[in-house]
């Protein structure tokens, strides 16, 4: 009798084989999320992003704090500006590529069909993947900005802790929005390479093209100030930048006339407006991704 045949009854009669638990969507979502988090932790790219983000953040904090001669608030202002720009570059790239790779690469490897052949729903799989990657991004942001906070505390006392918390929270919100966009790309793409390529193209669009487009629009089409503000709200990176500055400095002077107009016109309601704009970037692409994912073949 062969080895496999000999042990067959023990497979069927294994205690685990008959100890069923109640079907629970939350448990399935958690299982997929945990697996996704582990895969992210093992991914070389993700680790590289995290290390680069932390190292650059440390560099920005250290140089800003040192050039301020250790004076807490002034040094912190420069550090904040540096960190906001760093987040604007690194976090969207990280979230977009992570989201874009997840479903498409599983489909390409044949894993998606096998996963969906198990007693899980497509919504559970999509949410699990989303939450797992969100947790990985949160860890990355906390690590990067936590290191910056440590440098600031060492150089200038505790003046900027609340601001760092704001920055971390807003960075995470931006990451969630970009992750949703990445997952939308992922469910639509047949190949992982196409999905990641599209994600990088979108990142370039968000980071560079829209800034240039706004400038061109102002000059060529003579956009009014409220139109300029409305257009800025379409780009999640602009929303993040404006919200961060508003939350930390309570002023948008640095953004010029559009910033001044926004503060004068909307005042404290700006938090709500920025929050709604970023929430839309989180929810809308994710819902569309869910609808497409539920209809498309996993093969």
């Amino acid at each position: 009798m062969t080895a496999l045949a000999r042990v067959a009854p023990s497979v069927a009669c294994c205690p685990a084989a008959s100890r069923r638990l109640h079907a629970c969507p939350v448990r399935n979502i958690a299982a997929v999320a945990l697996r996704e988090l582990r895969e992210a932790a093992r991914s070389r790219w993700f680790l590289l992003y995290t290390v680069a983000f932390a190292a650059l953040g440390l560099g920005v904090s250290f140089i800003s704090a040192a050039s301020g001669g250790g004076s807490g608030l002034a040094g912190f202002g420069r550090t904040t500006a540096g960190l906001i720009n760093l987040v604007l570059l690194v976090v969207p790239l990280m979230a977009l590529t992570a989201g874009a790779g997840t479903v498409a690469s599983d489909r390409e490897r044949g894993m998606l069909a096998y996963l969906l052949a198990q007693p899980v729903t497509r919504l559970e799989v999509l949410l699990g993947k989303y939450l797992g990657l969100a947790a990985a991004l949160l860890a990355c942001i906390c690590l990067g900005l936590g290191a910056c906070a440590a440098i600031l505390a060492w150089k200038g006392g505790g003046a900027g802790h609340l601001s760092i918390l704001w920055l971390a929270g807003l960075s995470f919100a931006l990451a969630l929005g970009m992750l949703s966009v990445g997952m939308l790309v992922s469910v639509m793409a047949r190949k992982a390479s196409v999905a990641v390529g599209t994600a990088i193209f979108l990142w370039l669009t968000f980071v560079f093209v829209t800034d240039l487009g706004l400038m061109a629009g102002v000059l060529a089409m003579r956009l009014r100030i409220e139109e300029l503000l409305a257009l800025s709200l379409v780009n999640p990176l602009q929303v993040y930048k404006m919200w961060s500055l508003h939350a930390i400095d309570a002023s948008l002077d640095v953004l010029g006339p559009a910033g001044l107009y926004a503060v004068e016109e909307y005042g404290s309601r700006l938090h709500l407006i920025f929050g709604a704009a970023l929430a839309a970037w989180v929810v809308v692409p994710l819902v569309v991704a869910g609808v497409i994912f539920s209809r498309r073949s996993p093969l």
């Binding site: 069927a12 084989a17 109640h22 997929v32 209809r295």
Partner: protein
């Protein structure tokens, strides 16, 4: 246990499955037989709810379209090629899929599950370190988690060597004998006749015939041919002895081709043993290969070649 009514699946202008209706009662074992593109795998994917389709499929009374998750809780599925996460550890994979299936597993349980498919001691390995046969065994272990009443298999032995195939089929024979319902696709006559009670023959997405497994070889009109390797000095005498006993052997370069009824493969050996002629090696050839080697009438529709040498 599985009820399929008017199942139709189209890919663009191609109709992969065309109005198939099929019922697999609890404890029954049904093989899907057909050439590549006949619709076997598409039908299985529809049963698993992986593809959108027209018609109705129920597993254990659950509509696959509306209550797919509940239906899949009753199914253990083994695909043709396993798409596990390569970076996952073997034990980790078992725990992951157990969680998805709602099965509580402790450390000892994982060891028992792995030991049950001959993977004891491999729990710490990464999946990418496993051979194709080991991956299939892992897939079977995962499929059996929760002791599902239905097994759905899609050409599971296609990537296995002869030894691995025999082990796998032997294991499945035991499992199907335990009152489990089985629906599987296969290209191999021996698998079908061993595992199935009924064979559904698909042609271009339609059910061409339903045949009891015991009559399947006859239905296909397959002959079986023995290829016997016999020492050159004894070949002529062997030829004569076999002819005298009612066989129609013919010589080839290194031995004899002997067409035999499928259920009487041992008869030529008995004749030769009585004549004190030793057989050095042999091969059983069925299907198209048997037709080419001088097998039964109608051979060549579908089939395979078993390499026992």
């Amino acid at each position: 246990m599985i009820r399929i009514e008017g199942l139709t699946k189209r890919f663009g202008r191609t109709t992969a499955v065309d109005g198939v209706s099929l019922e697999v009662p609890a404890g029954d074992s049904v093989a899907l037989w057909g050439a590549n593109g006949a619709g076997k795998t598409t039908l299985i994917r529809c049963v698993l709810g992986l593809l959108r389709y027209r018609g109705r499929i129920e597993v254990g009374g659950f509509d696959v379209r509306r209550r797919g998750k509940a239906a899949r809780r009753l199914i253990g599925y083994v695909p043709q090629e396993l798409g596990f996460y390569d970076d996952l550890g073997v034990a980790e994979a078992v725990r992951f899929f157990a969680r998805l299936k709602g099965v509580g597993v402790g450390v000892g349980d994982v060891d028992a599950v792995l030991g049950g498919v001959g993977l004891a001691g491999h729990g710490r390995k990464r999946i990418r370190e496993l051979s194709g046969g080991m991956k299939q065994r892992l897939a079977l272990a995962v499929a059996m988690l929760g002791d599902p009443p239905v097994l759905v298999l899609d050409e599971v032995t296609a990537s296995l060597d002869a030894c691995g195939r025999e082990e796998f089929v032997s294991l499945l024979t035991r499992l199907s004998g335990a009152g489990r319902t089985m629906l599987f696709a296969s290209h191999r006559v021996d698998e079908v006749t061993t595992l199935a009670r009924r064979v559904v023959v698909l042609e271009r997405g339609r059910v061409a015939a339903e045949v009891p497994a015991a009559e399947f070889v006859g239905y296909l009109g397959l002959g079986t041919v023995l290829h016997l390797r016999i020492d050159a000095t004894a070949r002529e005498r062997a030829l004569s002895l076999l002819r005298t006993s009612g066989f129609a052997p013919r010589l080839n370069g290194v031995g004899l081709y002997v067409p035999v009824p499928a259920a009487q493969k041992a008869a030529p050996f008995r004749v030769l043993a009585e004549g004190r002629i030793s057989v050095e090696d042999f091969e059983i050839i069925a299907g198209p290969a048997a037709s080419e080697a001088g097998g039964g009438p109608g051979a060549g529709r579908m089939g395979d070649k078993e390499d026992r040498s």
